[in-house]
């Protein structure tokens, strides 16, 4: 406790506090800009940190990481375009609330849930650094395959009234991920013989295309009749009672985020989607999910911010980055001469405790920055669609270019914009396709790796208890909506003759 208080005093020194505040501002901005993300924000600031001492440099980076996860939800809620991929699930209910005129309420719920998730993730980091890092490295190809299939089973809850079109959408998403070089053999697949597609289509260009450009095409299709996101949008914030009433949802979301975030490579996107789906599954109000339910925002936001602390567990304990952002953070640690791993706590305890405390201070600064920004964002939402949509497209294309400095990504975003618009017109839901693109690499690569290890025997998936449980959960999750619908329709039919 004394060591933690010392760390807190270190984090609160003026120079360190300034670094944390700068990180919060940049993080919220990077997260909110479609195309940018915590990873890009961290990469952009990395050269700046070279000139700083290790403590402020690392505190600025953790602050960016934390704030960007909340920032992603801002545009997801305000304009229906996830600022970063972990905010995808937040669009489901967040944008629906904005369309109802409740942007301020939705942003307030997101901010409070992000803050709570961030604090709980940090507590998890402090308390479970050792055991969770050991559990995380128990994940092999079979377990990752199970996790991927479990994630994909969520498609069953996203297909809507036409399961066939939802399944086709998921298949298309899985096919989109095939494009590019095969990870295991280096063979080009579906690249049409061009070098441009060797790197693959990418998740961010797909999100930009589906959620920003397709929406702009809809506005262009409507011409002067382009519809506004909602009438009478207010910046009214949620009441404290409503926020604290979400504590169960936030705890569940944070727990899911903490567990998945600690697994290297799983990431905040999967955690937030799983959290949204689990919340929907346990809710009595599950049919209303996707139409603007507060818990539909709180669960994914708590999960993706909880992931930030959890992703630090394998990074600090083992030197294994749990996400792309954690990998950039690892670069920052290395540049500062800090070697993460089992000896870190023994050699640099003061820095580790300053980081722990820094996370908590970063969460509070994120709360302040986020709260001050809510009126601005609700004003943005009130812009006429004929102003808002073109700006969204332009900033999305600039952001997607900035991601890798690659013009091909902007073309891919345009391609997905056209595909997304056509899919929406034909009644195909977009979320299963995005889920397919996110989970496809995890499923295919680990399926093949597992079978390589087992010389082609599928029993490897059943021998591992973790994999077995995840696959069983996947079957239940996939079948549950159909079974539930059948039971409900059976009950209705039974009532009708009376």
């Amino acid at each position: 406790m004394t060591a933690f208080l010392d760390g807190l005093l270190t984090a609160l020194q003026p120079g360190n506090l300034a670094a944390l505040l700068a990180g919060s501002l940049l993080g919220v901005f990077a997260g909110a800009m479609p195309g940018l993300s915590s990873t890009v924000g961290l990469a952009l600031v990395l050269p700046v940190t070279f000139a700083l001492d290790p403590t402020p440099a690392l505190l600025m980076m953790v602050s960016i990481y934390m704030a960007a996860e909340y920032g992603g939800s801002i545009t997801a809620i305000a304009i229906g375009v996830p600022g970063s991929s972990p905010a995808l699930a937040t669009t489901f209910d967040g944008y629906a609330m904005t369309r109802r005129g409740e942007a301020g309420r939705a942003l307030g719920i997101s901010l409070f849930s992000s803050m709570s998730g961030g604090i709980l993730g940090t507590i998890l980091l402090v308390l479970a650094l050792g055991p969770l890092s050991r559990a995380a490295i128990a994940f092999g190809p079979a377990e990752y395959f199970g996790l991927g299939v479990f994630g994909l089973s969520i498609v069953a809850n996203l297909v809507g009234r036409d399961p066939l079109k939802g399944i086709i959408s998921a298949l298309l998403g899985l096919l989109f991920f095939i494009v590019g070089l095969d990870v295991l053999t280096g063979a080009p697949r579906l690249t049409l013989g061009t070098n441009m597609l060797m790197d693959g289509l990418g998740l961010v260009p797909m999100l930009i295309g589906f959620f920003a450009i397709a929406e702009a095409l809809k506005a262009a299709a409507g011409g002067r009749k382009a519809t506004a996101p909602g009438g009478g949008i207010t910046g009214a914030l949620p009441r404290a009672r409503e926020l604290f009433g979400l504590w169960r949802t936030i705890l569940r979301g944070s727990a899911i985020g903490g567990l998945i975030g600690a697994i290297p490579g799983a990431g905040a996107t999967i955690a937030s989607i799983v959290a949204w789906n689990e919340e929907r599954r346990v809710s009595k109000d599950r049919e209303r999910f996707g139409t603007g339910v507060p818990a539909g925002i709180a669960a994914p936001e708590a999960a993706n911010n909880s992931c930030v602390g959890a992703a630090m567990i394998p990074l600090l304990a083992l030197g294994i980055p749990g996400s792309a952002s954690a990998a950039v953070l690892l670069g920052g640690l290395t540049v500062q001469g800090v070697a993460p791993g089992p000896l870190l706590m023994a050699e640099r305890a003061e820095l580790v405790y300053a980081l722990y405390a820094g996370f908590l201070v970063a969460v509070l600064l994120m709360l302040a920055v986020g709260r001050l920004g809510i009126p601005l964002w609700t004003r943005v939402v009130r812009l006429r669609p004929s102003i808002l949509m073109p700006l969204v497209v332009a900033i999305s294309l600039v952001g997607v270019f900035a991601l890798r400095g690659n013009a091909a990504d902007a073309w891919v975003a345009l391609f997905f914009g056209v595909v997304g618009f056509a899919m929406l017109r034909a009644g195909y839901p977009l979320a299963p396709a995005v889920l397919g693109l996110i989970l496809g690499p995890m499923i295919e690569t680990n399926y093949r790796r597992a079978l390589t290890l087992s010389s082609g025997s599928h029993t490897i998936f059943l021998e591992s208890p973790i994999s077995l449980v995840l696959l069983a959960l996947a079957v239940v999750s996939f079948a549950a909506p159909a079974v539930r619908n059948r039971i409900i329709s059976g009950k209705r039919q039974a009532k009708e003759p009376q």
Binding site: G160, A216, P390, V418, P429, A431, S455
Partner: protein
């Protein structure tokens, strides 16, 4: 005047969708013939997953075609109303201006072509002003001030403050 897709009968539109999906599946199967075999005996190679997906896509397309055939226009009325669609604002079946969509796509494509040549500061306002016009903005003051202010924002924040190497033009 409705578009061709609006005039087409719903089952026919579904049949066209099914045909496109089946053709996509067939194209994947054809492409996968050139993939190398697995490096390890017993483990699936790079062709396994694409072929599996292609077969599933063709089967789904066939299901879609059969459904269109059997249910007629009733099937076409079914609307994917997944949660994500409400988030994305997806609305199938409302009247659209196809010309507006094509002009918007062409405008964005033209922007992507000239962006490296003209640079960000010149080309971004052109993109914004064109899209604003297409989405119904007619106030000249807004059409001039918003794109210019936005270009200034992009220049200051992305290029100066963050040092993002956006195309600077000739």
């Amino acid at each position: 005047m409705g578009s061709r897709s609006e005039r087409a009968s719903p089952p026919l539109r579904l049949l066209v969708e099914a045909g496109l999906l089946a053709a996509s599946g067939a194209a994947v199967l054809l492409d996968s013939r050139g993939y190398p075999p697995s490096l390890t005996e017993g483990a699936p190679g790079p062709a396994f997953f694409p072929r599996l997906l292609a077969v599933l896509l063709i089967a789904s397309a066939a299901w879609l075609a059969i459904r269109a055939w059997r249910k007629g226009s009733g099937a076409a009325r079914s609307r994917g109303n997944a949660a994500s669609d409400s988030a994305a604002g997806g609305r199938a079946g409302t009247r659209i201006r196809p010309l507006g969509v094509w002009i918007a796509v062409t405008w964005i494509a033209a922007f992507l072509l000239v962006w490296p040549l003209l640079g960000t500061v010149l080309s971004v306002p052109l993109l914004v002003v064109g899209l604003m016009w297409l989405t119904g903005e007619r106030s000249w003051r807004t059409l001039v001030s918003v794109p210019l202010a936005f270009a200034g924002f992009i220049y200051l924040v992305f290029m100066v403050l963050l040092g993002v190497p956006l195309p600077a033009g000739f």
